[in-house]
């Protein structure tokens, strides 16, 4: 440990953060007795009370199970990472991300408010992005991080829409209130959109088919991250959400069919792919996808047996089983990578002698993964089989879970026997056992898997059944045991083990065929994702070329054509065109002003020099200001006068620096007709809108309000100004913010013109001469 201080710049007090998850774990453990009795701990502080959004948290059975997994596995992961990442220049950053992730994940599983849950959900997405892309010099890592972010982020946005719909349908954003009276929303008209949107969020996060592809790519992250985020915790957020919301959204055919079908297919497909991979982490990643598929499938499998929702029990049990063995195996995989310098299964072998403790830990975890009695994995597999057999689609469900399980048995043998047994192969590094931080986690987790299998009673009573109660609302009278007697599930378990082992032994030809089959698939998730991204890039490029062409005249054309189309289109659609029955009284002064405006506008168009054009335009502005003055708006008139003055000065200043009209590309005759048409449409439409507006009886209540309150509330007699700086000060603040930003932006454009360089060079020369 003494060396740690030399090779990292992390202050020693910061290293105490490694103990944080362990402390939290201990605290959550103290809650186990009360929560398993059915009580729940709640804590809340108002955030946006007007919208029913509170920073509310509650700990019930389901939340506690996840919280214990997050902090318990997190304790080992942080310890493991402290050794694994030792010497890395940015280990502090890494630990900060990992801790931030852990706290976000805890927030997610303990939130009592849909919106707060969403915030934490996105926080896990962002920390996951940062952690996958941690080796940011590596292009693959960056690509994978972005893919994970985009896929889960897109799903989360859909989920947010679903949450808002759900919140308005249920009348509350509070989860505990929803769960307290699970009337079910099955008959609500918005049920289907809600369910689809929420499933989109859960399926992308938990990597269900067809969104499974990002998870194996996320293995670009350092191994502690893979072990923590992408196997044991974050990817289970989707499963958590489905479990949490199943009392509210579950119980319908749509829910059952989508969860079972997506989960079942994902499980079998990814278990098959897992076997074809050569990279140790890839094998584990695909088996993770399989495990998520199984959890989703059994949450959807709506089976009742003896009044118990055995599907949910099986899903929760398997979730716990998987978290224990998968985190252990990932950590071992990292240790192997660390020690041998490779994760390629074809290059690994005979590590048994060099890494005895890791070998033992891997064996313990793999036995649980394969479901060998008396490990906890066996209990989980029994629960899966008995639930599948009880379901209405028993044959299909049992076949799917049998296929997935036997493939997983083969995968378990592959990852545990492959690297450790056989003859010693030449490896990039001389393999050796790592520090105690590297092997203690997997060993403890593996032993926990064994202990939980030997004594399933307390595990179920304290952890699994309270979680099941949170999901189903009832306390199941379930007796967990290692030995249920000789029955069909036991026979299936034996069949799984035997055929899995047979598959492992005969893996040569079978895997070859499997690889060819998968390679021949026309569409893969990665290819679809790349095509999608390329399409987005191409589309936005086209759009940019169309809209941001860099020609001022084209911009104006687009803007005015849009205004004209919007105005006349709206007027036409609403049938609001109206002309006054008799012409309004117009004085001689008004006619003079109108004539002045029209004449100057005409001069602007036909002017052959820019200076004349801008001066004529200034006359238009000044005459317009006179119109304002005449109709009792002195403030607007004054602003108009001053603005016109400044515009003429600024434009004249710009014009002095520009070449003359000659040499400029003038629009073609057809182009002039087009411009004239757009101008006419905008002008006519504006005129018609104004005429229609003056025909309406004006709504005076706003004016009356301002006039009544201007002196009393605003201490000012100039209503316009009181509105600007008091009643609607926020609008003004927005406007002046835009003004300030726009001026700085314009300055950068002007100041970056190449003339500046010429000038400064000239100045430099002058200085040199002088």
């Amino acid at each position: 440990m003494g060396a740690a201080a030399d090779d990292s710049c992390v202050p020693s007090y910061a290293k105490a953060v490694v103990a944080l998850p362990a402390v939290l774990f201990a605290w959550f453990c103290t809650l186990v007795p009360s929560v398993s009795r059915g009580e729940s701990v709640a804590w809340s502080v108002a955030w946006l009370p007007e919208r029913g959004i509170h920073f509310a948290f509650f700990v019930d059975g389901l939340g506690l199970l996840f919280a214990l997994l997050i902090t318990g596995i997190g304790s080992f992961i942080l310890l493991y990472a402290s050794e694994y990442m030792r010497g890395h220049p940015q280990v502090g950053r890494f630990t900060a991300f990992l801790t931030a992730f852990m706290l976000s994940m805890l927030g997610l599983v303990l939130s009592d408010n849909l919106i707060v849950l969403f915030v934490f959900w996105e926080l896990t997405t962002i920390t996951s992005f940062l952690l996958i892309g941690y080796f940011h010099e590596d292009a693959t890592a960056r690509w994978s991080a972005l893919q994970g972010l985009l896929v889960t982020g897109a799903g989360a946005l859909a989920m947010l829409a679903g949450f808002v719909l759900l919140g308005s349908a249920a009348g509350t954003y509070s989860l505990s209130e929803m769960l307290a009276s699970p009337t079910g929303l099955a008959d609500h008209p918005a049920y289907l959109p809600i369910a689809i949107l929420v499933l989109a969020g859960a399926f992308t996060k938990s990597a269900q088919f067809p969104f499974h592809f990002w998870l194996p790519n996320a293995m670009a992250a350092p191994t502690p991250v893979s072990a923590y985020l992408h196997s044991a915790t974050m990817v289970k957020a989707g499963v958590y959400l489905l479990a949490r919301l199943s009392p509210v959204l579950g119980g319908t055919e749509f829910w059952a069919v989508s969860l079972t079908a997506a989960g079942g297919f994902t499980a079998v497909y990814s278990a098959a792919v897992a076997l074809t991979k050569k990279d140790l982490k890839q094998v584990l990643a695909y088996t993770t996808v399989m495990a998520l598929g199984v959890c989703v499938m059994f949450l959807g499998l709506d089976v009742e047996s003896d009044g118990m929702r055995v599907g949910v029990i099986a899903a929760v049990t398997f979730l716990l089983v998987h978290a224990l063995y998968k985190a252990a195996l990932f950590m071992v995989a990292g240790a192997i990578d660390h020690a041998a310098g490779t994760r390629d299964l074809s290059k690994l072998g005979g590590l048994r002698a060099a890494m005895p403790v890791s070998c033992a830990a891997a064996a313990l975890a793999a036995l649980s993964m394969a479901g060998v009695p008396p490990f906890f994995g066996f209990v989980g597999k029994e629960a899966l089989y008995s639930a599948a057999l009880e379901s209405p689609v028993a044959l299909l469900a049992a076949a799917a879970i049998l296929a997935a399980n036997l493939l997983i048995v083969a995968a378990a043998l592959l990852v545990s026997l492959g690297p450790f047994t056989g003859e010693v192969k030449p490896m990039p590094r001389h393999p050796h056992e790592g520090g105690w931080q590297l092997w203690s986690g997997p060993l403890v987790l593996g032993c926990v898997g064994l202990a939980a299998g030997l004594f399933p009673g307390p595990v179920f009573e304290w952890l699994v059944l309270p979680a099941v109660k949170s999901i189903t609302g009832q306390s199941p009278d379930y007796h967990a045991a290692l030995w249920h007697g000789i029955n069909l599930p036991l026979a299936l378990s034996a069949l799984t083990l035997a055929s899995g082992a047979a598959l492992y032994l005969a893996r040569g030809p079978v895997l070859g065929a499997l690889r060819r089959l998968i390679r021949s698939l026309p569409v893969t998730g990665d290819r679809a994702y790349d095509a999608c991204m390329a399409g987005v890039a191409r589309g936005s490029e086209e759009l940019t070329r169309l809209l941001q062409c860099g020609v001022q005249r084209r911009y104006l054309l687009i803007v005015f054509a849009t205004i004209g189309a919007a105005l006349s289109g709206t007027m036409w659609a609403k049938g609001s065109f109206a002309l006054p029955l008799r012409p309004p009284a117009v004085s001689f002064f008004d006619w003079t002003l109108a004539g002045l405006i029209v004449a100057s506008a005409f001069v602007t168009i036909v002017a052959q020099s820019r200076l004349l054009a801008i001066c004529a335009l200034g006359v238009v502005g000044a005459a317009t200001a006179l119109v304002f003055l005449r109709f009792g708006a002195p403030d607007v008139a004054m602003a108009q006068f001053t603005v016109e003055t400044l515009v003429v000065v600024i434009v004249a200043m710009v014009l002095l620096k520009l070449p003359g009209f000659r040499g400029e590309v003038r629009p073609s005759p057809l182009g002039r007709v087009r411009d004239g048409l757009v101008a006419t449409v905008v002008g006519v439409a504006t005129t018609l809108v104004l005429l229609a507006v003056t025909l309406e009886t004006p709504q005076m209540w706003l004016r009356d309000y301002f006039e009544a309150n201007s002196v009393a509330g605003g201490h000012g007699r100039n209503v316009v100004n009181v509105i600007l700086v008091d009643f609607r000060a926020l609008d003004t603040l927005g406007e002046i913010t835009v003004l300030a930003i726009a001026s700085v932006a314009a300055y950068t454009l002007v100041a970056r013109l190449p003339r500046r360089r010429v000038r400064s060079r000239r100045a430099g020369r002058r200085k040199a001469a002088g």
């Binding site: 001053t642 000012g716 100039n718 100004n721 700086v725 000060a729 003004t732 002046i736 700085v744």
Partner: protein, 133 residues
Amino acid sequence: MNTLILRQATRFLVTLILMFSVFMLLRGHDHPGGGFIGGLIASIAFCLFLFVGDTADIRRLLRADPAAVGGAGLGLAILSGLIGSLVDGSPFLTSKWVELGGLHVGTPLLFDIGVYFVVIGAVLTLVLGIKEQ
């Protein structure tokens, strides 16, 4: 353009117009005027300098970068909105008034002064940017 008459007149005109702009700013609450118009008038005063002098004169007169003037104005406007929140926790931009010798002085005046400076800063940033390049 750069005649002796204009040069001499500008000195007085700029002073007068600047004073007028402050007058417009302050009277705005009861009569036509206000921060926006005041700021524009002040900008015109500075622009008058463009015809007789260098941009360096304007910068010297302003004593700060125009962008900083605009930023300060924006800060002042935001600050005026925060005063109410700091005093008694009322929502952002709630106006607060005190009576000084029969004259009501309140945060909206501060806000208007902020607008005044933002307008000056924005216009002069642009004008000086164009003129100097």
